[in-house]
Symmetry: D2
Subunit: 342 residues, 4 copies
C-alpha cells in the first residue's frame, strides 16, 4: 500500500506537523512525570479556554479507555448506558464499558442517520423500571456519529430535556468531535456544556496525534477522584508530556479545527465526485470526514486491485475516511479510478 | 528545575535519539491501525530474536496496565498474587492488579534487599489453603527490584522450584529489566524463560521511549485471547506503530542495552562518590541505575535549595535515579554539591 | 390475595412437605459449617446418582448467582455468552452475568418458541471474529425455556454440534429443569451430559424449596477452584445444611420429579380449559408448568378484580404459572371465572 | 460428633424455635416474591423500630455478601477500606470486598484486643495521599470484634471523629452485633447511628437463623439503588419471606437479644471456669460469646480425643464459641473434661 492510497481509517494517518513540533520541543529537556509537567497544565488550560468554561481535563491513552472510564464515572455496575445501536461503544470496544463499570449493560436505541432520537431514549428508559433490569443512568452520544452525521445543537438540547426528565448524565464520544465542530461551524461550547453534555471524550488521535484523548468533565462532580480511576485502570502516562505537548500543538492557532476542516473538505470533494455516478449511492448524508457509499461489487474489486484500501462497514456499504493528511490529489485519483471502472 | 538537575526518576527523561529516529521514520507514511503495521511485526520479531525463543509479544501503553493484565491472564478474581512487600504492584499501582483481575489479593512476602526468598514464598502459600482465603496462583518478581537490586539466575531458579511445587505461574515486572540484564551481564533468556519466567513486562518507557511496554509471554498458553483482553482494557493503540517503531529503535544495535549500561554506570559513579562521605550510607547495594542513600537532613535541604530534585522513598532514604540521559557531568556536579554541604 | 388465588409465579409457592421434613431433621442437632455437614455430602451424592455420572456439585443461594457464576467459570471478561433474546440471563438478572464475569457481553440469538436454533448460534459466532468485539465462548440454553417450551434431546445434540465446531461450552439454565425432565419423560442424563451440557444450574427454589440451586458441572475442568469463586461472591452458606437437607428431601423418592409432574399437569389442565374459548389463544405450546395465553383485556380485568394474580409478560400475553402447590380446584375455579367473564 | 459437643462455631448451631415458628407460619400460604410479601415489610419495620430511626433495610443471604456489598456502596474500585488486621473481611472473605468493589484495597490497621484505634486509622489515612495508592473512603469496624471484644460507645465516637476529619464512611460488620448489644447493655442506636455508623450488617445467622443478614443503612444516601446492586450480585431472594419471617421471629419479644445474652452468659461461665486453671490463659478479655484461650497442647489433644470440637485460631489460641443453643451442662461438661486432663 503506498501510503496515501487509503481511505480505510483516519487512524492510518500519522502525526501532524504542529503536534510533532510540540513533541520535539517537549523532548528537549527532562520534565516531571505523571502530569506534573508544564505541558499538561498548558494543554488543560488550553482546553478550558477553548470551551470557555472551568472544566476538569484528563489525558488518557486511547478512546476505548476514555469512553469506558468516563461512563464508569457516571454509573455503577447495575446501571445501564443508553446508546445508538451503531454506537462504537457497543460495536467496537470489545466490552470496554462493561469491563470498566464491572458489568453495566448497554441499552440499544435507534434513530435515522445513526442518531438517537428523544423518543427512542424515552422508550428505553420507560420500558423497564423494576430491579430485575439495569437502571438507566447514562446516555452516550457520538458526535460526529459512526456514520458521519452530526447532532445539531437543537437536537442535543431536545435530548438533554429527556435526560433531565429521567436523571441521565450525558456522555459524548467525541472520536470525531473536531469534525463535528467544523461541520456545524459552531463554538465548541454550543454542542457540549451549553447543550447539556456532562462529559466529553475529545479525540486527539484521529485529529493528528500519535495517541491521546482528552476527557473533559463539564459536570465536575462526576470527575471526583477521576485521577485515581485513571491510574488504577492503567491510563496514567508516566511521561504524560508526550500526550499533552502534542495537544498543545493542536490547540495553538486552532490547528485541531483546521485539520478537521481539511478532512471534512476532502470527504465533501469525494462525496460530490461520487454522487450521480451510475450505481453509486450515498448511504448517509456526508457531514464530516467520512463517506458511506454503496459501490457496485466489481467497482470495489477493481479499486482494491488498484491498491486502494477501505473497509466495508455497517450493512455492507463502503466507508471512505479522510483525515488531516488526505490530499485533494488522492481524492481525485480515487475518483478517476472509480470512473474508469464504471 | 533545569532539565538535568534531577535524579528524581528515570521517567523524567525524554525519548532517546534512536527511538526518536524510528518514530520519525514511521511517521513518513500512513500505516494500518491496531498493530497490523510493519513496525509492530518487526518489533515483535525483534523481541523473539532477542529472547531467542518463540514467545508471544504485545505492546501496551504503560507499566500499570502491562503488569495488571499480565497478572489477570494468570489467575481469577479469587486467586492471589505473591509479591514482595516493596513491590511496585503493591505500593504504586493504585490497585491496578486487583482491578484488572476483578478482586485478586496481593499476598506480601519479604526478603532482604527487596528480593523475595523461596522461604517467604513457601510460607505464604502454605499458611492458608482453605476456601476462605484467596488461593495463590501467581508469583510476581520485580527485576531489577524497587530498591535497585537484582535476582541472579540462581536465585530465580530456586524460586521457580518453589513455584513448581505449588503450581504458581511466574510474572516478572521488568520496569528496569534492561538495567538488570546490563548489571548481571547475562543473555536475556537466562533470567527469563530459562529461569522459569512465564511472562515478562519489559519496559520501554524507562529505557528511552515516550511510552510503551512489551508484554512477553514465554508460556504461550497464558497468552490465549490476550489481544481481546488488551482491547477491552483500553490497551490497544490504534496507531500502534508509534509504540512499536520506537521499540525497533531500541532493539537495533542493542540500544536498549547501551541505554541501560549507561544509566547503571552513572549510578555506579554516583554511589562511589557518595560512599565514605561522612554521615552518608547506602541503604541497599547499588546494582542497577538507582542509588538508595541515607543523607543527613541538612544535606538534603541544601541540595534541594540548589535545585536538585529527588524523592525520599522507602523508609525515608533518598532515591537517586539515573537514566539513559543522565550525564557524568550531572553526577559530578551533584557530588560536588553534596561534598560542599557536608 | 388468598394464598391459592395466584398463577403469578412458581416463586410464590412455599416449601413442599418433604423438603420441610428434611429441614426439620437437619435442625435437630449441630452440624459443621460451610458444607462439611452430612447433608451436603448426601445431597451431592444424590445428584451424582440421579445424573448417573461423577459430576461436581455446588449448592448456591439463588438462580442469579448460579447462572452468573457458572458462566463466569466458562469465560473471561472479554468473552461473550450466546443466549436467546428471551433468556432470563438477559432480561431478568440485572446484569448478573456481566458483573460476575467483569464485563462479558451477552449476544442475543433467536428461534421460535424461545429456543435457540443452531443457525442462529452459528450466525452470532461467525458474524464477528475481530478483537474489537467479545469472543464467543459460552452458549446458554434455558431448559425449560422462558416461554414454557422444551429442547428435545435431538435439538440439544444439534446445538452441541455447533458448539463443538466453535469451541463453545454449554451452560444450561435449569430454573425449571425438573419440569423439562417431566415433560420430555427422559432420564436427566439424556438432556444434560449425554447431550453435551457442560454445566447445569438445577433450581430447587421453583421445585419446592425455600431457596437453593445446585450447580452441576459435568465438565469437571470448568469447576476448578469453583468453591473459591462461590465463597468470594457471597454464595457459600455457613449453615449450608439448610440448603442441602431440603435437597435431600427433594431427591428421595423422586419428589422433585413428582412436584414437576404435578405442576405440569396443572398447567396442562389449565391450557386445555382455555383452548377453544372465544378470544383466547395460546401464544406458545404448553409443554411444562406455564401457560402463555392471550386473554381479552376485559377478561384480564375481571379476573384481577376477582382476586386472581398473574403477570403479563413477553409481548403482553398473560403468563399463568403452576407449581407443586397448585391444586386442581384452583385451576378449575380460575377456568370457571374465565368462562363466566366471556 | 454428638451435636452439643462443640464450641467450634456459632455457625454450627441450628434455627432457634421462635425463628422456626415464624418460618412455619410464613409457609402456610403463597406469598409474592422478591420481598413484596408481608413478612419482609414487617421485618424491615421491626428493624426501624428497634433502631428507633428511619433507616433503609435489605435482607441478604450471608455475611460475605452483606459486608462486601455494603462496602461497595461506599466506595469505588480505586478507593480503600480501612480495617483491623484481624478483621474478618480481610482474613476470611476470600477477597469478597475486593470483588464486589472491582478492586478496592483493604488497608490494615491495628490496636489492642482486635480494635482499631483512632491513631491507627489516622496513620493509614495520612501516610499516602498520592494517586498511586487507593484513596481511603471506608472504615470498617467489627462489633463485636473477631476476638470477642466490644467497642464502647465512647470508642466509637472517637473513631467517628477521625472519620469525619477524613471524610470516611463507617461500616459495621455486625456478625455478632447482638452479642455486642447484650454485652454493653445499651440501646442498639447507641452503638450505631448515634455513634456515627453509616451502615450496619446485622447478622441473623449467628443469632439463630438458618441464614439471612440485614443490611441497615442509617446513612440513607449510601443506599441509593442498593436493591439493584443486590439483585445483580445474586443476593435478591425470590422467596424472601424465608429470610424475613425468621427475622420477625427474632425481633418479636427481643428474642435476638435473649439469644445473645444466653450465648454471652455461656461464654462467661466458660471463661470463669477456665481462668485460674494451671497453664490456661485467656488471650483476650471475654466480653461476648467467644473465649480465646491458650490451652496446653496435651489438654487440647485430650479434649479432641474426648469428642470436643473447636478451632485454633489467631496466633494459635483456642477459640471456644457459644451460641443460643449452647447449654450450661455442655459448658460444665467441657470444664470438667479440662480439669480432668490437667
Amino acid at each position: 500500500m503506498p501510503s496515501s492510497e487509503q481511505f480505510a481509517s483516519d487512524n492510518y494517518s500519522g502525526i501532524c506537523p504542529q503536534a510533532w513540533a510540540a513533541m520535539a520541543e517537549a523532548n528537549r529537556m527532562d520534565e516531571p512525570a505523571y502530569g506534573e509537567d508544564i505541558w499538561t497544565a498548558r494543554a488543560a488550560d488550553g482546553l478550558r479556554e477553548l470551551f470557555d468554561t472551568n472544566c476538569d481535563v484528563y489525558f488518557l491513552f486511547n478512546g476505548t479507555a476514555a469512553n469506558s472510564l468516563a461512563l464508569a464515572s457516571i454509573g455503577q455496575s447495575f446501571h445501564s448506558v443508553i446508546c445508538h445501536e451503531l454506537a462504537h461503544i457497543e460495536t467496537d470496544e470489545c466490552g470496554g464499558p462493561e469491563y470498566a463499570s464491572n458489568g453495566a449493560k448497554l441499552l440499544l436505541g435507534n434513530g435515522p442517520d445513526g442518531k438517537l432520537t428523544p423518543e427512542s431514549i424515552e422508550h428505553l428508559v420507560t420500558k423497564r423500571s423494576d430491579i430485575h433490569y439495569p437502571k438507566p443512568k447514562a446516555l452516550s452520544l457520538t458526535q460526529a456519529t459512526e456514520v458521519g452525521t452530526v447532532y445539531t445543537p437543537e437536537e442535543l438540547r431536545a435530548i438533554r430535556a429527556v435526560a433531565d426528565r429521567y436523571r441521565l448524565n450525558v456522555h459524548m464520544d467525541g472520536a470525531r468531535f473536531a469534525n463535528a465542530v467544523a461541520s456545524l461551524d459552531v463554538h465548541p461550547s454550543e454542542i457540549t456544556w451549553k447543550a447539556g453534555v456532562d462529559v466529553l471524550c475529545f479525540s486527539g488521535t484521529k485529529n493528528g496525534l500519535a495517541l491521546g484523548e482528552a476527557v473533559v468533565f463539564f459536570n465536575r462532580d462526576l470527575a471526583e477522584d477521576f485521577e485515581w480511576r485513571c491510574k488504577q485502570a492503567g491510563q496514567l502516562a508516566s511521561k504524560m508530556r508526550y500526550i499533552s505537548a502534542p495537544w498543545c500543538g493542536l490547540l495553538k492557532d486552532n490547528v485541531w479545527l483546521e485539520n478537521a476542516r481539511h478532512a471534512n473538505a476532502c470527504a465533501a470533494r469525494l462525496a460530490e465526485g461520487l454522487e450521480g455516478l451510475p450505481g453509486v449511492t450515498l448511504r448517509y448524508p456526508r457531514q464530516v470526514n467520512g463517506v458511506f457509499v454503496d459501490l457496485p461489487e466489481p467497482v470495489q474489486s477493481s479499486l482494491r486491485d488498484a491498491g486502494w484500501r477501505f473497509y466495508n462497514f455497517i450493512g455492507g456499504c463502503s466507508r471512505l475516511m479522510c483525515s488531516w493528511s488526505t490530499t485533494e490529489e488522492q481524492v481525485d485519483r480515487f475518483l478517476a479510478d472509480v470512473r474508469a471502472t464504471l
